[in-house]
């Protein structure tokens, strides 16, 4: 359960069978159960079956589910999806988190952004709204940019007015989007460099679905990162995997 979205992954026989997401709400238990049943149906399984584990900020609101913290879920999910991962970078709705892993998959350290939403999904959503771009298209919207605009401030409120100013100056939208993606990447790469990991870096979280941010991260980092097929599902997959023992 993330700050913005509740993600569900159905895992069985060592595979991810189905995934889905709903907006996180004050009363998440009902919608989560409904979605779980839809996913079970897709996999040809009876509703209400299986076992459920919950992770994330609202995990305690899911009755009957076993609980694990986000960190544990991400570690398990990353190990399941890409065993060679040594650093998980979770680009979530309200937070950026880095989890460092030992070669056996246990956590050795983690860092988070502080109480500031810059560089998170919320930040990009607000910028998308200011630009009149569909948030889901923020990654592709920057593809044709000739030169990314420079966004000077990282504060959400001020960055928004900077964006509005750039629009008023007739700067092409794709260049502004590219500038925003660069800014987010720069902040994330600074955190990655501080962690100093040499091994594989796995990106997770909804913002990792933004191809522009991912490309900018790889450019700034000077190497490739690992992008799972559904980066927003890493935590959910990890929660599901935790029910099945050590693998």
């Amino acid at each position: 359960m993330g700050a913005l979205w509740t993600k569900i992954a159905l895992v069985g026989d060592g595979k991810v069978l189905a995934t889905g997401s709903v907006r996180s709400t004050m009363r998440p238990a009902g919608p989560a159960r409904e979605l779980a049943d839809v996913l079970l149906g897709k996999a040809g399984l009876p509703p209400g079956g299986g076992r459920m584990a919950a992770t994330g900020v609202g995990r305690k609101n899911i009755p009957g589910a076993s609980q694990l913290t986000d960190l544990m879920a991400f570690s398990r999910g990353a190990r399941f999806l890409h065993p060679a991962a040594r650093l998980i970078v979770d680009l979530g709705g309200q937070g950026v988190r880095l989890i460092e892993l030992e070669s056996d998959g246990t956590m050795s350290n983690f860092t988070t952004n502080e109480k500031c939403s810059t560089g998170t999904g919320c930040f990009l959503d607000i910028m998308a709204a200011a630009l009149g771009v569909d948030p889901a298209h923020m990654g592709t919207a920057s593809q044709n940019a000739r030169e990314p605009a420079v966004i000077n401030t990282s504060c959400t409120v001020f960055a928004e007015s900077e964006v509005v100013t750039l629009v008023a100056k007739k700067r092409p939208k794709e260049e502004i989007v590219a500038g925003l993606n660069e800014m987010v990447a720069k902040k994330v790469v600074a955190m990655i460099n501080l962690a100093g990991t040499k091994g594989d870096v796995l990106l997770a979280g909804g913002v990792a679905m933004n191809a522009g941010v991912v490309a900018a991260i790889e450019r700034a980092l000077g190497r490739k990162v690992v992008l799972p097929p559904e980066p927003n599902m890493v935590g959910a997959v990890g929660a599901a995997v935790s029910l099945g023992g050590s693998r």
């Binding site: 913290t69 544990m72 056996d104 050795s108 350290n109 983690f110 502080e114």
Partner: protein
């Protein structure tokens, strides 16, 4: 625009309406403080703790028993001096027969009156709360003070000392940023002498060596008791949240009585088993944690950790270092007092501040701490920067550190909890892996 404040003081920055509205908040601030204090004490008592903590619980209400006692003391001609920092030297006040009371505030509700003046400018909440406390008149003890002594370790306290002069007599002490040089020590020594002159003028008394000797001896006993207590914390017989309360009762208590009660607590701790042998052993550092802003200590200890050691100016540092007198002359004693407050202190206002990282490392090893939580009050840039430095140094030694930023409200409680829970879980995973 100026107006007239209490006791004929000129209002330079505040105005009468602002103060009136602050004073109207007095009851609300007191009520909220009591609620917070009682809530925390109930949570703290629910666990296994030494019987000798009862004394410190009794002193925990900032508007309770001790406030009444000081009220009577003042009414019978006693002297009370307010201080706003670790650096205000208690021995000097005590030498004049004055009781020093440290007013760094941990009250959430007191932030609001200060916001009327300062706006919501991302300033340290401790400083805003302290200013709001004075503006509202909510602390009966602060209202008794003849003088408030404000050292200037950071921008926020520097300006607090300035603005507070609308409502109370203030003595600023210019703290050097570079303490390792001859010049730095000499300038601080001058500040100590300046404070002595100020108090001599205020009370019409000349400071005599025997007065200072007696005060130093009284505090040396307190410092010895605290060091004994600090060493005993290693065995884990007491929760960190209780240890911090013990330290902070010294902010306003009768120091001889406090010493006696700390020693009583130590006697009990000698034979006590650990309160939470399985808990993750945490070193708490960073911005001052001031009662009843117990958010971070309670979250750590509710999430499977125990604060086994701290490096807070509101905790271990309060009483840890003794005044070491070489020569019992007036000059010798003043030098000893000056050095005691300057040299061992690892406040982030100093540069370079290698002592801080090294002390953290040394104490973490000594106390078997498995990780450090570095608490930063929102707006405290100095601690935020020291957190970055500490993180780099601790990481090199493979000791995990979590930096948590917090404010004076309950709004960030769950966000901070999530981070602390995850941090402690990681420490446990590391432990399983290595053991």
């Amino acid at each position: 625009m100026t107006g007239s404040g209490k006791g004929g003081r000129v209002l330079r920055y505040m105005n009468a309406e602002m103060l009136e509205s602050a004073r109207a908040a007095r009851g609300r601030i007191q009520e909220a403080a009591r609620e917070q204090v009682q809530g925390h004490l109930a949570a703290m008592r629910a666990n296994d703790r030494p019987r000798a903590m009862a004394y410190f619980d009794g002193m925990a209400d900032p508007f309770g028993k001790r406030a009444e006692e000081l009220g009577r003391f003042r009414a019978s001609g006693g002297r009370v001096v307010g201080t706003l920092c670790y650096f205000a030297p208690a021995e000097i006040f005590a030498a004049f027969g004055a009781v020093p009371v440290r007013f760094c505030s941990g009250l959430y509700e007191a932030v609001h009156p200060a916001n009327d003046l300062l706006g919501d400018a991302g300033l340290c909440p401790l400083v805003k709360s302290t200013l709001g406390l004075k503006m509202s008149g909510a602390s009966p003890v602060l209202e008794l003070c003849d003088l408030v002594v404000v050292p200037t370790p950071c921008d926020a306290k520097l300006k607090l000392g300035e603005i507070l002069q609308d409502t109370v007599e203030v003595h600023l002490m210019n703290l050097p940023a570079v303490k390792g040089t001859e010049e730095g020590r000499a300038s601080w020594m001058n500040e100590i002498k300046g404070l002595v002159r100020r108090l001599e003028g205020l009370y019409g008394v000349r400071l005599m060596p025997r007065m200072l000797r007696k005060a130093i001896a009284t505090y040396q006993r307190a410092q010895a008791a605290w060091r004994r207590f600090s060493a005993l914390r290693r065995k884990g017989g007491i929760w960190g949240r209780d240890a911090l309360l013990v330290a902070q009762v010294s902010f306003h208590d009768d120091i001889a009585r406090w010493t006696e009660n700390v020693n009583r607590l130590c006697d009990e701790l000698e034979g006590r088993p650990p309160v939470a042998p399985e808990a993750a052993r945490i070193m708490l550092g960073g911005s001052p944690v001031i009662w009843p802003n117990w958010k971070v200590p309670l979250l750590i200890e509710e999430s499977g950790g125990i604060i086994i050691a701290d490096e807070l100016c509101s905790g271990s540092r309060t009483m840890y270092d003794p005044v070491v007198v070489g020569e019992w002359t007036m000059e010798g004693m003043l030098v000893a007092v000056a050095e005691r407050y300057l040299v061992p202190c690892t406040c982030p206002s100093f540069s370079p501040n290698l002592d801080r990282e090294e002390n953290m490392l040394r104490r973490m090893r000594e106390f078997g701490a498995e990780g450090a939580v570095f608490h930063v009050l929102r707006g405290c840039h100095l601690n935020s920067l020291d957190a970055t430095k500490a993180n780099v140094v601790l990481r090199r030694e493979r000791l995990p550190m979590l930096k948590v930023e917090s404010e004076y409200d309950e709004g960030d409680l769950e966000q901070v909890r999530t981070r602390i829970e995850a941090f402690i879980e990681m420490i446990r995973a590391r432990r399983e892996q290595s053991g």
